[in-house]
């Protein structure tokens, strides 16, 4: 294994700094929201993690398609990395959504289209890992994984649209004129700044984690290869 590249070390440091900056912007810089108070501050991490979760989801589906075309195992490693990191971030998104829902609507869970879609995506990811765990042959595992991420990638947007049809019964969080009355809010300029900082920070962290995870994937393959060589 080649030693850690300098660029990655720089990225590591950058990730830690940007996480700190994003936390500062969310907790100190952004003004306290009028209707909900402090809890609104989880919003910045909520949308930040949701954004990279979605990014990972889309990248995984694209990597799946590329893998099916050129059968290069590197794309499989990329896909697994994207799914794994995305699972982690969506978990944060969902928990933060739930924590927000509690004081805002007096319930731990709302069937909001976005939150529900995120939860279903998380279930698709769990199914994805269970599928991979059941297959011995790495090539077949990669192939089936790619097919499944592709199916997921297409079904999730349709899921979102379908769930929106049920919204008459459920509150919409943002972007609706009556949103505030239902527990949403409108954003001030500083809030938008804090949100954008959070987007940028999580993007950097995402890239950093992806890089590390792909390297681990490469290391795993190397170990497997050596095991075969030694046992021969």
């Amino acid at each position: 294994m080649q030693s850690k590249p300098i660029a990655l070390t720089i990225l590591d440091i950058l990730s830690v700094i940007s996480l700190g900056v994003a936390t500062y912007f969310a907790l100190v810089f952004a003004p306290t929201e009028l209707f909900m108070g402090q809890v609104q501050r989880v919003f910045y991490f909520h949308v930040g993690t949701a954004w990279v979760g979605m990014l990972g989801f889309i990248l995984a589906a694209i990597a799946g398609i590329i893998y099916l075309i050129n059968k290069d195992m590197r794309w499989d490693r990329f896909e697994v990395a994207a799914v794994e990191i995305s699972t982690m971030f969506f978990f944060i998104t969902i928990v933060l959504g739930s924590i927000w829902a509690r004081p805002a609507w007096n319930t731990w869970w709302t069937w909001d289209p976005r939150l529900t879609t995120a939860a279903i995506t998380e279930l698709i990811y769990i199914a994805y890992f269970m599928l991979r765990a059941g297959i011995e042959d790495p090539e077949k595992r990669a192939r089936f994984g790619a097919v499944y991420t592709l199916l997921g990638g297409i079904s999730v947007p349709i899921t979102f649209m379908v769930i929106r049809l049920f919204r008459t019964i459920h509150p919409v969080v943002i972007g609706n004129e009556s949103a505030a009355a239902q527990g949403g809010f409108s954003m001030s300029g500083d809030m938008v700044t804090a949100m954008l900082v959070s987007f940028a920070a999580f993007t950097i962290i995402f890239i950093d984690l992806m890089w590390h995870r792909i390297r681990i994937g490469g290391l795993q393959d190397k170990v497997e290869e050596l095991k075969l060589k030694v046992s021969m």
């Binding site: 042959d137 790495p138 090539e139 393959d221 497997e224 290869e225």
Partner: protein, 232 residues
């Protein structure tokens, strides 16, 4: 009839076949021998177009795999240790179905002919689930030669058969092979292979380690030949 050059097959990181060369003249009956895990079944599955070669060229009946697989399939019959038959259909219905899948025209007389050849004419209307293992295997051979293929592949056809059933299968194998088809068969059973084949190839560690014609060695030293080629 079959030409294989520099065939490599990998499953993930495991290399099963390493640059295998193999050549079969029309009308030859080649017995492919070798220890477990040598890659016999894998090789046969590649010849049968069920598995893709990782590298190298494979030509069967003048068509190359995997690009011309439809042409190869039409000229190929396969008998494996699994019967490839539907237990809830009668013998005749099974053949009927496969005749349709091979696009045969006016197949009724051919089905009767095949059923007579394999000695199951009397039980044509019986469900395959009521057949003994030996009868199923004979019907599997009938299924494989239904479309009068130029090349026939046998993968361990004797698995799970008792003495009587094996002898009966020998009979059917011979009458099938005698019809001027090219045959490749894998088997553990050296004695049976010795009776049937005209050429013996030893597959070991992913390559053809040795090859000998029947006339090359005088009576009954296939076992010695087999042992010697595995040791070297």
């Amino acid at each position: 009839m079959i030409e294989v050059k520099k065939l490599v097959k990998r499953f993930g990181l495991k290399t099963i076949l390493r640059g295998l060369d193999f050549h079969v003249e029309p009308g030859e009956f080649v017995a492919l021998l070798g220890p477990n895990g040598a890659g016999k079944t894998t090789f046969l599955r590649i010849l049968a177009s069920l598995s893709r070669p990782s590298m190298g060229s494979v030509k069967v009946a003048g068509y190359s795999l995997p690009n011309d697989s439809a042409n190869v399939r039409a000229r190929l019959g396969v008998v494996s240790h699994m019967p490839l038959l539907y237990p809830d259909l009668t013998a005749e219905e099974n053949l009927h179905f496969y005749a349709q899948m091979y696009g045969l025209a006016n197949y009724q007389p051919r089905i009767t002919e095949v059923l007579e050849m394999i000695g199951l004419e009397a039980r044509r209307k019986d469900l395959v689930r009521t057949f003994s293992r030996g009868m199923q295997q004979r019907l599997a051979i009938g299924r494989a030669v239904l479309h009068d293929p130029e090349v026939v592949l046998f993968d361990e056809p004797y698995t799970g058969l008792d003495q009587d059933a094996s002898e009966m299968l020998d009979e059917v194998l011979r009458s099938v092979a005698a019809k001027g088809r090219t045959v490749v068969m894998t088997s553990h059973d050296l004695a049976r292979a010795e009776d049937l084949a005209t050429r013996f190839d030893i597959l070991s560690r992913g390559v053809i380690a040795a090859s000998a014609k029947r006339e090359d060695f005088k009576d009954s030293n296939l076992l010695d030949f087999y042992k010697k080629s595995l040791e070297s």
